[in-house]
């Protein structure tokens, strides 16, 4: 069953069609990858899904109901969590307080919210840093904190926006493990990623876009061998041979 359906999504900024008529769906329990060269509109699609930007035309359907035009915080309560590509830690709060604040999304009692937050920090491997200020974390920690915070809102669908960018190789492997663990915990994942090692190993299906338009969709192998994708990434010359 499709958990999330994006139908004919179009987003126009002035004269720029950032996203043009993109349609795809995310099945319950899978990891769906969204790839495309720089500036192809991946993050814009995320921002349209949780109505960070209003949609120009098209529709976004979550669990059978349209969420188009709903407030960002309402969409979070419905069960869509997200991380930001440019991390947005709540700098002058401790790591634990960052996650506790998001746990209040589902839990109203302070002690329970802290308990939940501690569990999530353990899960994300941040438990040792819980009393540090968020601004003192290195980039790897901040990316994890983004994920931990999104998880604390108990989402059914998690939108991960380049959570592996800027990580070193060992951190990368840990990130892949973490994302798999999240999926195994029953959370559906839609992931935007540039690092092919990550996206090709973890995705069940991949949707590729360029210039805001769909160019391919399928399993990682299908997409990797698709001429349009190769052309978009490597240029026309490589696509033909």
């Amino acid at each position: 069953m499709a958990l999330l359906e994006v139908k004919n999504l179009t987003k126009v900024f002035g004269g720029l069609r950032a996203v043009s008529d993109v349609t795809f769906h995310v099945n319950q329990g899978e990891i769906m990858g969204l790839i495309g060269p720089n500036g192809s509109g991946k993050t814009t699609i995320f921002n349209c899904i949780n109505n960070y930007y209003p949609i120009t035309s098209g529709d976004v359907i979550f669990k059978g109901n349209s969420i188009k035009g709903m407030k960002t915080h309402t969409i979070c309560h419905l069960g869509i969590g997200r991380t930001f590509q440019v991390v947005k830690p709540l700098s002058r709060m401790t790591v634990l307080d960052n996650v506790t604040a998001s746990a209040f999304c589902r839990i109203n009692i302070i002690r329970d919210a802290r308990e939940e937050a501690l569990g999530i920090l353990e899960f994300c491997g941040l438990i040792d840093q819980k009393d540090k200020l968020a601004k003192s974390l290195p980039i790897g920690g901040r990316k994890r904190l983004e994920i931990a915070r999104a998880l604390a809102t108990k989402p059914e669908l998690l939108l991960l926006d380049e959570t592996a960018a800027g990580l070193n190789p060992s951190e990368l492997d840990e990130a892949i493990e973490l994302i798999k663990k999240i999926r195994d915990g029953g959370i559906t994942v839609l992931i935007v990623e540039h690092i092919m090692k990550v996206i090709m190993t973890i995705s069940d299906r991949i949707h590729a876009i360029n210039f805001g338009q769909t160019i391919a969709e399928g399993t990682p192998e299908e997409v990797a061998n698709n001429p349009a994708v190769i052309e978009a990434y490597l240029g026309e010359a490589y696509a033909q041979c």
């Binding site: 915080h73 709540l90 709060m93 604040a101 302070i110 604390a152």
Partner: protein, 320 residues
């Protein structure tokens, strides 16, 4: 434990203070400082914790004061009713201000509140049927002694600090600070930022309005230029918060006593010891003070207390 003991000692001192110091002059200063504790704490909740810096808290203060005053002149009931309703009316105004101003962020919000304060000053000046305009409102004080006012101010100051302390330890507190740190992140974490900014503003305007109503009762005279003053109320609220320490519970309380002390020192030209022209210099000194605090104590006296202690200690050892 040590901290609790300190609070208990502070509480005992506060309660017995007027019994020991019977001078009306010093009692008056402390009453005014306690009133500023309320306003400073209220401002700090909105600006320090929630990150929505207001340059217009005089608007809530003035509304509270005028509510109490108008209760006497137009409804002919006791101004003490204003103590209960001053805060409520200020809250209603806060609801409107929030509806308009929270569409703006950061410095634009600050400017909108600045304009709001001036608008209410002009309304109070010109709507003479209701407010008697520049003539102001004069009522008769209930008590001739300052003692009852002292204890009322003390109770209100304690109440405002305690309520804000409780709020900051709750879910709301987490939400307020999240909004200050990153409004977009907060929104994506399921926080209805507009709602919680308004809640913060409503609590803040309630206490500020209550302080205004207390001022009416205590001073027995108000006019628009006093209670809606940008300089003496709105800016003073910011100074109390910044000097004492933004986003600390006790900061505004400490800031209130420092600022009222400084203001009085200059107003009285160093208690009559310095030439009279020094009383004109207070605006200049306040400006220098703000520069000093922002450069060297960005977290205020309370927030940077460890830093102050360390430096004072170092000076002490190096000179010996």
């Amino acid at each position: 434990m040590g901290k609790n003991l300190a609070y208990i000692i502070l509480g005992v001192i506060a309660v017995v203070f007027p019994l020991v110091v019977t001078s009306d002059y010093y009692l008056h200063l402390v009453i005014i400082a306690l009133m500023w504790v309320i306003i400073g704490s209220a401002w700090n909740l909105l600006a320090g914790y929630t990150g929505q810096v207001s340059f217009g808290h005089a608007m809530f203060f003035g509304i509270g004061a005028y509510t109490a005053g108008i209760f006497v002149t137009k409804l002919e009931i006791s101004a003490w009713w204003g103590m209960a309703f001053g805060g409520v009316v200020a809250m209603l105004i806060g609801l409107f201000v929030g509806w308009v101003c929270f569409r703006l962020r950061g410095p634009y919000f600050a400017l909108a509140t600045l304009a709001g304060g001036e608008i209410f000053r002009l309304i109070a000046t010109n709507w003479e049927e209701l407010t008697d305009g520049m003539v102001g409102i004069l009522i008769i004080q209930t008590f001739t002694s300052k003692l009852p006012y002292y204890y009322i101010a003390l109770a209100l100051a304690f109440l405002s600090i305690y309520v804000i302390h409780l709020v900051m330890k709750s879910k709301w507190g987490y939400y307020f600070v999240s909004i200050r740190e990153d409004q977009d992140a907060a929104e994506s974490l399921g926080i209805n930022t507009t709602l919680y900014k308004n809640i913060s503003l409503l609590i803040s305007s309630f206490f500020t309005g209550m302080a205004g109503a207390f001022y009416m009762n205590y001073m027995a005279f108000i006019d628009p230029h006093v209670v809606f003053s940008l300089h003496y109320i709105s800016i003073m609220a910011i100074l109390v918060g910044i000097v004492g320490g933004v986003a600390t519970i006790m900061g505004p309380a400490v800031g209130a006593f420092i600022m009222v002390g400084l203001q009085e020192t200059f107003r009285s030209a160093f208690f009559g010891l310095a030439p009279a022209w020094t009383s004109e210099a207070h605006a200049l000194v306040f400006g220098l003070l703000v520069i000093f605090v922002i450069l060297f104590l960005p977290n205020g006296v309370v927030g940077d207390w460890q830093k102050i202690r360390r430096n004072v200690f170092r000076i002490g050892t190096s000179s010996s």
